[in-house]
C-alpha cells in the first residue's frame, strides 16, 4: 500500500516536471523579437513597418477615387489584401460615421461605393506589446469626406515572422510583414 502511494506521488511529480520542461522548451523556441534582434535592428524593422501602414492607407484613399477603371481597382485591391494576414482581418470601417470594425475584404467593397476620402496618417507611431512574432503599432488617421473630418486613434497588430518565400525555383525563409487586426484606442 505504502509503496503504491510512493509510486503514484513519483508519477505525479514526473508528469509535472515533464509539463514544465515542455513549456520551457516552447518559450525557448518562441523567443520574443526583442531577444531575436538587437534593439536598434528591431527598431529599424518596426519603423519600416510604418511604410506598410502608409501604403495601406494610400491604396484605400485611391480606391475611393471616382471613375477608377475596374481592372485598376482589382489590381489595387489585390495589392492591398497582400499586406494583410488574410481577407477576414478586422479593420476600422472608414466609410461609417460611427466607429465600427469590419473585415478588410468588406471595407474594400464598401470603398467602391464611397465618396472620395482624403486620408492622412500621423507620422508619430508608437510600438508596444512585442511578442515572439508581432508588435502593436499605435497611430492616428484623419479622414476628410464631403467636407467633414473624422479622426481615429488606431492600434494595429503588425506580424513580423520567418515565412517561406519562393524565388523562382528556390525557396528560403525570410522575415516578412503582415498587417493584423485594428482596434480603436
Amino acid at each position: 500500500m505504502r509503496s503504491g502511494i510512493v509510486y503514484i506521488v513519483f508519477l505525479w511529480c514526473a508528469s509535472v516536471w515533464s509539463q514544465a520542461a515542455t513549456e520551457s522548451m516552447k518559450t525557448t523556441n518562441e523567443q520574443s523579437l526583442k531577444q531575436v534582434f538587437a534593439a536598434p535592428v528591431l527598431q529599424a524593422y518596426q519603423e519600416n513597418s510604418d511604410i506598410k501602414i502608409q501604403e495601406l492607407f494610400f491604396y484605400l484613399q485611391q480606391l475611393t477615387q471616382p471613375g477608377l477603371e475596374p481592372s485598376l481597382r482589382q489590381e489595387m485591391e489585390t495589392a492591398c489584401l497582400a499586406l494583410f494576414v488574410n481577407e477576414a482581418t478586422m479593420v476600422v470601417d472608414l466609410t461609417s460615421p460611427t466607429p465600427t470594425h469590419i473585415p478588410i475584404a468588406t471595407l474594400l467593397q464598401k470603398l467602391a461605393q464611397s465618396a472620395p476620402i482624403q486620408i492622412t496618417v500621423s507620422e508619430r507611431v508608437k510600438y508596444n506589446t512585442v511578442t515572439y512574432r508581432s508588435w502593436t503599432s499605435g497611430y492616428t488617421i484623419r479622414c476628410v469626406q464631403n467636407g467633414s473630418s473624422r479622426e481615429y486613434a488606431i492600434s494595429q497588430i503588425v506580424f513580423f515572422q520567418l515565412l517561406p518565400q519562393q524565388f523562382g525555383a528556390h525557396q528560403q525563409q525570410t522575415y516578412q510583414y503582415r498587417l493584423g487586426a485594428m482596434e480603436l484606442r
Partner: protein, 309 residues
Amino acid sequence: MNEMQHFQELKRRVLERYRQDYPYFQGDWKTFSSQDILNLIALLERECKETVSEKWIYTHLKPETNTKLPRKNMLHVLCRFVGVSSWDEFIFEPVVTGSTVVSKEETKRSKRGYLWGMGMGVVLVLLAVAYFLWPEKKVTKMPPVKLQNQYTQEAVDSSEVQVYDATHTVGTQPLTPQQFEEKVREKPLTVFVKSPFYKDTIVQIPPSSTVQSPPVVALQPDDYAMMVKAFLKADITDWQKRKTQLQHILSEDLEVMVMLKGGLGSEFYNKAQFVQKLTIPTPVLKRWEIVDIKNEPDGKLKVIRIKQE
C-alpha cells in the same frame, strides 16, 4: 524687370538650387536630362511637399524662352524651392525715390537691410578664414574624365558609377576622385567602370598631363536596369504597360533586397511581389535607390539591391 524676366531669373535660381543637391550637373535647362527632371520632381516633393509633373517641366522650364507665364500656384512652389516665400515676394521691387524723407516702414526695412549686411559680412569673413585654414588635401576636384551615355551622349550621373583601378587586377575598393586624379596625373591608368545602370566597361585613361580636355568614357546602358529605375519614379499612368514590361524584363528567379536605413536590416521581394509593388507605385518607391543589379545571361534582371532612404 517684367514678370517674364522675373520668371527667367526664377528658372536660373531653380537650377542653382538643383546644383546644391546634384553638384555634378553643370549644364543649363537645354541640357537638363530626363533623369535630371526626375531628380527635380523628387526634390520638389521632398522640399516643398508638392508634386510637379514631367510634362509641366518640359512645358515651362525646359524651353529657353517662354511665351506664357505658368500658373501662380506653381510659381509659388518654385519660389519656395529657392527659399523665397512666394511669387509676389520674388517679383517685389522696392520703389526708389529721390526724397530724403523715409517712412517708418522704410526705416525698419533699411535697418533690417543693415543687419543683413552686417550678418553677411561676418559670414564672409568666417568663410575666408575657413578657406585658408582648411587643409588643402580635403579640397575635392571632379575626376578628369567625362562619363557619358553611349547612345544619348548625355552626361552620366557620377554618383551612379564606381571606378576601380584595373592596371594589374581589378581593385577591391572603388577609387575616390582624389585617388583617381593622383593615379592618372603622370601615367596612363586602366580602369574598370561599374554601375547598376551601365554595362561593365574597361578603358585606358591617358595621363592628364598629356591631354588638353578630359577624355570621354562612353558607357553602354543596361536598358532593363534603366527601365526599373524609371519605374521607381513613375506614377499610376500606363500601369498595364508597365506590368507587362516588368514581367518581360525580370527573371523568374528575381531576388530583390531592400536595405533599410542605416543598413540595420533588409526586406526581400520575389518577382510577383516586386511587380505588384511597381505596378501600383506608392510614394514609398521614391525613397528607393538602386545600388546594384545582376543579370541573367539573356539580360533579364536576376538580383536587384536597393537602398531605402
